[in-house]
Amino acid sequence: MKTAMRALLPLILLLPCGATLAGPQPLADNELAAVRGADGINLAIDLHLNLPPPNSSNTSDLTLTKSKLTIGQTVDGRTAYLVFNNVSGRIQMMSLGLSANTADDGTNYVAIGLPSEVRFTNVGVDSISVQSDASTPVTSSLGKITLNGDLSMQGQLRLWSH
């Protein structure tokens, strides 16, 4: 009996009974704000959107099967569709920063560091059209939009709650 008691005693001491009885304590905002990670992250992005693989021929399936973004709206009981054909292009970005900061006045904010270099290659849509039937081929288009070239940016976009 005495041996058993002696074996149980450390077990009882180990059990976090006190903490369990008290229940979880809420973590105050200021304590949470004191938790610090590293300075943030930087992202380099190379996005190829709806483009055929560079080594494929123009007759590959990906070239033939073009994407379509469709918005259908019903006005006066008749539905019409706004169709963006083949939203596509390549965006290279270097580098997008993300970090959490506290300002001098105590505001906690997320800072998005704008990319110093962005290159757009044929970013846009092949055509924009308005159709009564979204599934038919484009017969009358409003035109095409593209974005090409480089942009360099500086500064931050800061986000916080109010």
Partner: protein
Amino acid sequence: MLRAFLYLLFCLPGLAVALEPLPDSALAKVSGRDGMSFNLSNFAVNGNATWRYTTPGNNSLGIGNLSASRSDNTDAPFADPYRLDVISGGAGNADIVNIAMPQNALGREVWQVAYDLGVDANGLSVNVGSVILKDLVYYGGGFQFSTPAVGDGLAFGLSTHFDLGSLTLAPNGRATTGEALVLSNVRVGAATDDGSAPTQPWRIADVSSQAGIFNVRTDAAGNPSLHIGIGWPDANGAPAGTLQIGNISFQSTAGNVDLGSSRIGSIQLQYLDVKFH
């Protein structure tokens, strides 16, 4: 021994309480704060990127070589931001997404913008010239988005109050401003009773009283079109705006022609209906 077991028994229910599932009703009470603030800091952009609109006939209009920057209110960088909120549209109406621009009372957030225009048509590529906006300062105003009262689409609101130091159209490029059309000291905002400079934003469209509409629609004859418009105002009438231009001048190496100032004391936009087909 018994005492030790008793103690263990007392401890166990405590553990069970800590892992209690969160009921839906309690979860529904969890709410974020009212909205989001955002602002730019030390912002500038420039580059040779060109945005190009190409017609079905393969002629195109390009806007490129954008160069823009904005100064900050460095004394209080967090006190007067852009604000995004979802507000109630009133009884029976959809909620409204409201984006408010900074009040910018001291006018410290100042934009500088320049870009080039070009046209590519009938095998000719023509550089139309540069547009230079100097000292563009917005004071309040903003945007609203919601669903229209009738039918599908996007209902929008728009209000603005800005001062523009000068708007320069330089046909030979931004480096050659000696030959240009210059509109200086431009002010746009709500009309004032005595015709003085505006102090409040001009509500060009308002989701509640005179909503703007953006949608696609098919007319009775079956022709679909892209539609943008501003509806008739409610019983209070359309808000009045004012446009004031301090000076209009044509500048050239041969001498400047000053046309003097121009002022439209009160503009009311009653109804707008544009269809693209």
